[in-house]
Amino acid sequence: MISNTIHNDLVIENGIAFHEDVMLDLKHLKKVYPTPKGDYVVLEDLNLQIMKEEFVTIIGHSGCGKTTMLSMIAGLNEISGGNISVLGRHIKGPGPDRGVIFQAPSLMPWMTSLQNVMLGVNQVFPHATKSQRNDIAKYYLQKVGLEDAFHKKASDLSQGMQQGVGIARAFAIKPKVLLLDEPFGMLDSLTRGELQDILIEIWNKEKITAVMITHDVDEAIFLADRVVMMTSGPKAKIGDILNIDFERPRTRKSVLEHDDYYKYRKHLIDFLEH
């Protein structure tokens, strides 16, 4: 936790950070969608640095370009200008070093949950033995509470369970960066809370740099070290960044009872309302 605070101080006070601490670096990022009515500039001159072992949440009005930015980081969407680097290296297309948890669970419905996770594990650990790979997949499925559903067809699982498999699949390939695009947006609030807890529990253990889009202010505060606020499009960029200085591991209760909680909340809501 201490190291996180140091990173954050560095970013805010000097505007630069030690290179080796930067996991993800977005420089002068630009995205243009050609439309019949001419080019639409979604993002322009967007700069953002995300540190190793940092959990960043991103909020912004719907349509401002959050998904666009995240899918560019994932390498699934072409970059129109500027660049994105992971550990100092410019990205070229998608790859398993950046795991993605999509808004829709995006499991292969004809596969079992184990097969879905194995699809990634087989790809990333081709030299491990079959039983080692099986163990990895089962370990993460068990972490998301699906030890009884290894051999259930993905299409037979509930939405929440499917997203759980999605989380297991993403962690099991041991990515450097985890990208999450409103992963719990389609779930009811009870399931959402459960999956947030599961996510943060695994994350506390693995400390994989995470970038998560959300439209839920409480979720943004609960999970994040920093909340990044994007301005409304067109030509969206980073509007403001809020450090969340709660200790980890956090519990929902301790966060809600913290004196700073409503201050943070007000800050974010004020931003969104202007």
């Binding site: 994932a74 390498g75 699934l76 297309g93 998608p94 790859g95 398993p96 950046r98 795991g99 993605v100 999509f102 829709a104 995006s106 292969m108 419905p109 004809w110 596969m111 699809l119 990634g120 790809q123 990333v124 067809k153 299409s155 390939i173």
Partner: protein, 368 residues
């Protein structure tokens, strides 16, 4: 109880759910809702069958009367009163020499059905006797390296059905083997898709007759000096070519329209092309491929009859055609028997495909 549940699922799966309703009628566990279901799914269909047969009977009867009146009238104007009376008496006596030739009645069709079965028994017995008689001779001929003597008698109705089924399956397999791989390749590439689209659009509506002629031209030359069964080859290739288009188009569509999320997952995991096709693209397009195959099989069965008829290859098609040209008293009713058999087999084939389709697809569709 458990057994009932699985049986229930199996029959529902095959689109034969009404069987369960009949069963629960006998076992006595039929509630109010179940009773309504029973009315809707069992009583009404059976009533409609009787209604159909009744209407058919009356229609056939009035057609018979029209034809009979016309015959008597004709005898009267051409040969006078005496001939008309003879004709009238002849028709009334039921003598086959002067029966009006028109749509047969349900009873006549039933009678023809039974006579076709009897005929089959006779031919089968004849065949068995032949096989027995020639068994030792054939064994000797085979030992000497000569072709065995085969039965060359007339095929029975059942033999014709089996021949037709054989041809349709051969044609269907051909369609599958050609259309699925090509469909996958076309579906994968947008450029390829737009460049061969015109070809598909032009060939798809071509009539079975033209395909038959085309295949005939080619196969005739190719099989000139071999004594293979060219009628069979010609008809199954034509059936395959006519019917493969639905599978081709559906496969290409299925492959081209794989959910973007799945493709993104494949991209993030950096799956190789082979893995991408076999683990992601093919499974996700299987439902559409099977929809295509189901259409292909029903088209194959439909065009088969016409193609057999034209190619003079044995089977139900030539059975119908021969009966039509034959013009015997019971020819018309035999044609109707063939019609029901053709329809029934078509229905069964479709049910089989639907069952496979349901078993394979991950988002269950209920059959119609």
């Amino acid at each position: 109880m458990k057994q009932t549940v699985t049986l229930d699922r199996v029959t529902k799966f095959m689109g034969l759910g009404f069987l369960m309703t009949i069963k629960s009628l006998f076992t006595g566990d039929l509630d109010k809702e179940g009773f309504r279901n029973f009315l809707r799914k069992v009583v009404v269909p059976i009533a409609s069958i009787f209604l159909f047969i009744g209407l058919w009977h009356m229609g056939a009867k009035s057609l018979y009367n029209i034809e009979a009146d016309y015959k008597i009238e004709k005898a009267l104007t051409e040969q006078g009163q005496e001939a008309a009376d003879v004709m009238k008496a002849c028709i009334a006596s039921g003598d086959i020499s002067c029966q009006p030739n028109t749509l047969p009645s349900p009873a006549q069709v039933w009678e023809s059905y039974r006579s076709l079965l009897r005929d089959h028994q006779i031919i089968k017995a004849d065949k068995d006797a032949f096989a027995e008689k020639t068994a030792t001779l054939n064994a000797k001929r085979i030992a000497e390296g000569k072709d065995p003597i085969t039965y060359t008698g007339r095929p029975s109705f059942v033999d014709q059905i089996l021949t037709s089924l054989k041809t349709v399956f051969a044609g269907f397999l051909l369609a599958l083997v050609i259309a699925v791989p090509i469909g996958v390749i076309i579906g994968l590439s947008k450029t390829l898709r737009s460049s061969v689209n015109w070809l598909i659009q032009i060939f798809k509506p071509v009539s079975p007759v033209v395909w038959l002629l085309l295949v005939f031209m080619i196969v005739k030359t190719l099989t000139k000096d071999s004594n293979s069964d060219s009628a069979f080859i010609i008809s199954f290739i034509s059936v395959g070519l006519c019917s493969m288009w639905a599978t081709l188009v559906n496969t290409a569509m299925g492959v081209a329209s794989v959910d973007k999320d799945y493709i993104n997952v494949a991209k993030v995991l950096k799956l190789g092309p082979v893995q991408k096709v076999f683990k992601v693209i093919l499974p996700s397009s299987l439902p559409l491929i099977f929809t295509g195959l189901r259409i292909t099989l029903s088209v194959a069965w439909m065009v088969l009859i016409a193609i057999e008829l034209l190619a003079q290859s044995p089977g139900l098609g030539s059975f119908v055609w021969e009966e039509f040209q034959n013009g015997a008293v019971d020819s018309n009713s035999k044609i109707i028997v063939a019609m029901f058999v053709i329809g029934g087999i078509g229905f069964l084939l479709d049910r089989i495909m639907l069952t496979i389709q349901n078993a394979i697809s991950f988002n269950k569709t209920s059959g119609i």
